[in-house]
């Protein structure tokens, strides 16, 4: 299993310089997690400004490598919306992925950053395995791309020492230590003042810290793992020990097929309308060949929503026009930072197999300034 000590170990210890650079975060998630992070290779499909925020957080945290895939040309809007693109490339014929490399490299020269040309449809299971990715992040991608990438990640399993190109034992000492390992799939996007983050970690095993409650006089010192929790940071420290847990995740297809139960109207009304909007926007993409909805599509979206609500016997007022239009502008900088921060931290938890990633669909509602997680699918 991924949790045996021989699996996914970084080949070497971290250097003194890394220990100092990463000191503040090692205190948070521990040295083992930092080593796993340091061995992780991540592929990001799509390099819009949201990718800049996620990539900044991942690169600063010290992953092994980050590969960006986005052949769309760099635009003035991109440069104005994010620090990650090199402004001196404004008039060069360059792609968004390439324009982000120098800033990412300077944030942390120890991380290998590169751009990969091509379209998501060209990715194959062999390629993902050969290039040794631990995670694939689909950023601001149309729903069909999410479906196919989600399926693709689930079709890849790293198994022992055999390369799928028949190369036999790997001379690369990293790969030879890898056993059954899966490619983790993430999807994220911002729409207007809202955003979502989706995780499919298949069967995910991880370590988490359990507090040791100091025994009171005369009482049994055993602790019920379901109720003990780690105390808030900053309060009096307690001894903790690591325990291993696992969680099962649904694939993107089944999440897309989510049907909300009209009999539970009370709880449906408590969900953020931004969640319904996210799904409505997926529907729009399906009906419009992957095109992104914009401010001019309000009427089409209203019609689509009415049909959607009717087909599920839901009241149409779960999503009103005001909220709908709030999701159609290009996202503002703070929304990108919030969704990017949440997404990056879940990726860090997932690839380091430390702490609980959420399961499985996070929505940030920029009107209520609130985030919530639903388990869908």
């Amino acid at each position: 299993s991924a949790m045996t000590s021989s699996a996914v170990e970084a080949p070497t210890d971290i250097t003194a310089q890394e220990a100092e650079l990463y000191d503040r975060q090692i205190r948070l998630w521990g040295l083992d997690a930092q080593k796993r992070l340091r061995a992780s290779r991540i592929l990001m499909v799509g390099a819009p400004p949201l990718t800049g925020e996620i990539a900044k957080n991942l690169v600063l945290a010290g992953i092994r490598s980050l590969t960006l895939m986005d052949d769309s040309p760099l635009s003035a809007d991109d440069i104005d919306s994010s620090f990650i693109y090199d402004p001196s490339l404004a008039t060069a014929a360059t792609t968004r992925a390439e324009a982000a490399l120098s800033a990412l490299h300077s944030l942390n020269p120890m991380v290998e950053v590169s751009a990969k040309s091509g379209q998501p449809e060209q990715l194959t299971a062999d390629l993902l395995a050969n290039e040794d990715y631990d995670a694939v992040l689909a950023i601001s991608q149309p729903v069909e791309v999410l479906q196919s990438l989600g399926r693709l990640c689930r079709s890849v399993t790293y198994d022992g020492e055999v390369n799928s190109n028949g190369a036999g034992n790997n001379s690369n000492s990293d790969s030879s230590a890898k056993q059954r390992r899966q490619v983790q799939f993430f999807a994220a996007d911002c729409f207007g003042c809202h955003g979502y983050v989706f995780l499919d970690l298949q069967r995910h095993e991880f370590a988490t810290e359990l507090a040791e409650v100091p025994p009171k006089a005369g009482q049994d010192s055993s602790v019920d793992p379901k109720t003990a929790a780690v105390p808030a940071a900053g309060s009096q420290p307690v001894e903790t020990h690591l325990i291993k847990r696992s969680a099962d995740y649904a694939d993107f297809e089944s999440v897309l097929r989510t049907r909300w139960d009209p009999a539970k109207l009370g709880s449906l009304r408590r969900l953020s309308p931004a969640l319904y909007l996210a799904f409505l926007l997926f529907e729009f993409q399906r009906a419009n060949n992957g095109a992104r909805a914009g401010p001019n599509d309000v009427d089409a979206l209203k019609t689509l929503w009415r049909a959607f609500a009717e087909s599920q016997q839901l009241p149409a007022n779960l999503l009103d026009e005001a909220v709908l239009s709030s999701g159609l502008q290009p996202p503002s900088c703070p929304v990108l930072a919030i969704v990017g921060g949440v997404a990056a931290q879940e990726v860090i938890k997932a690839v380091s197999h430390k702490d609980d990633p959420f399961n499985n669909f996070f929505v940030f509602d920029g009107i209520q300034s609130c985030g919530s997680v639903q388990t869908l699918g």
């Binding site: 000191d23 948070l28 003035a76 620090f83």
Partner: protein
């Protein structure tokens, strides 16, 4: 100058130039509002240029604000670079405020960032009065009439809160929410009944060091000196063995001695962005502010929620004597009220807010920036403005710097009560 400059802020402009059902109660869309927020009248102070400060500065600059000040007393350290992304290894040793300002000015054309390398406390009160809003990652600024946005993070947790005098709790009201970052263990625990490695470390630092002076008489503990930390660790380990406690390693020892708080980029990104969103709303009025304390945690899954904290009526800092009554007729105009405030209560340029149906409403503001927008209110009667008996009015005087707001309660001879 930046490509696409004419169009570059159109997304921000859209928020300010269009009405909509989500706008704030007094928001009037105005094509001039965008240039107004970039005029010299709008100065914003960012307190702290560390993990939160770097993120906030980035978000403010990319949201269209151009007059930013930044204050921080620290210089850059290698351990900052895992999250303070405006700094590079070559900047180590330089003041954070200076380097952050340079980076943002270079990257966002038109944005002016004035760095202040020094302590908050060393600035005179006049310094703070030039700002329309203050946003900070520290909790040491006193409440004022100026809206204060405060953010804080520790590891995977964080908060963003809005503080407005007399409307929300001040920082002192809710001081007990902030758990102490100084790990103050009771001395008896350290001396007689230690249970944790931290107890052993603190015992060595607080009690053994001043008895043995291992590096010379009266030479204090220097958390950055690895020899000092090693000495403390050795003593702590001896004590730990004695009491059957896990022996601390160097990292834990140094962390306790230096009171290090764990930190990571993503939490800072989220909290800073929430704070800057509130700054944008406070300055432009385009949407009601967060009411009033948002919690964030991604230890287990992700949790974000907002709670409306209440003021502590006994608070030393923001508590006030009972409000003075103002007696009028409901048909009297707001101008009449203002005239009385001038003639009988010693005010020169009063500005008033009131709590109407649970929300704060600005009745009139005697500041050049807003005077014209609210001029219509002056001729309206108190009844038209929705003011009833027992409505509380908060009044400040723009001409009296440093004056605390005065609370009045409205007494309408003919009017209905709230």
């Amino acid at each position: 100058s930046s490509p696409g400059t004419d169009n570059r802020w159109r997304h921000v402009r859209r928020l300010l130039e269009r009405a909509g059902p989500l706008g704030g109660p007094e928001f009037e869309p105005d094509p001039e509002l965008f240039s107004a927020i970039r005029s010299d009248l709008v100065q914003i102070l960012v307190v702290g240029a560390g993990g939160l400060g770097c993120e906030m500065l980035k978000d403010l600059a990319l949201s269209g604000f151009v007059n930013l000040h930044l204050i921080d007393m620290d210089t850059i350290d290698l351990s900052n670079l895992n999250r303070q992304f405006l700094f590079r290894p070559k900047d180590i040793g330089r003041p954070k405020a200076v380097v952050a300002a340079e980076f943002v000015e270079r990257r966002v054309s038109g944005c002016r960032v004035t760095p202040h390398f020094g302590k908050l406390e060393d600035k005179p009160l006049e310094f703070y009065k030039q700002f329309m809003c203050i946003v900070c990652g520290l909790d040491s600024v006193q409440a004022s009439v100026i809206p204060l946005i405060d953010g804080g993070t520790q590891g995977f947790q964080g908060h963003c809160r809005v503080v407005r005098a007399h409307a929300t709790p001040c920082l002192e009201c809710t001081a007990d929410l902030y758990s102490s970052t100084q790990q103050g263990f009771p001395l008896c625990t350290l001396a007689h009944t230690p249970r944790l490695p931290e107890h052993c470390i603190e015992f060595a630092r607080i009690m053994q060091w001043p008895q043995e002076w291992p590096f010379g008489e009266e030479v204090p503990v220097d958390g950055d000196d690895p020899h000092h930390v090693d000495w403390i660790r050795t003593e702590a380990c001896k004590r730990a063995r004695q009491f059957g406690i896990r022996e601390p390693d160097f990292r834990l020892t140094q962390g306790v001695v230096k009171h290090i708080i764990p930190a990571v980029a993503s939490t800072n990104a989220v909290i800073s962005a929430q704070c800057v969103t509130e700054v944008f709303k406070a300055i432009t009025g385009c949407y009601p502010l967060l009411n009033n304390f948002a919690n964030f945690s991604d230890i287990e899954g992700v949790a974000v929620n907002v709670v409306p904290l209440e003021r502590n009526p006994q608070c030393d800092v923001c508590g006030q004597p009972p409000p003075k009554p103002l007696t009028f007729n409901s048909r009297d105009s707001l101008q009449t009220v203002i005239n009385q405030l001038k003639s009988e209560h010693g005010m020169t340029r009063p500005s008033l807010t009131a709590c109407v149906e649970g929300r704060d409403v600005t009745l009139y503001m005697d500041l050049s920036f807003l005077r014209d927008q609210l001029a219509d209110n002056l001729d309206k009667s108190l009844a038209e403005l929705g003011l009833l008996s027992n409505t509380v009015l908060n009044v400040t005087d723009s001409a009296q710097s440093g004056m605390k707001p005065v609370t009045f309660v409205l007494n309408l001879e003919d009017g209905m009560e709230t």
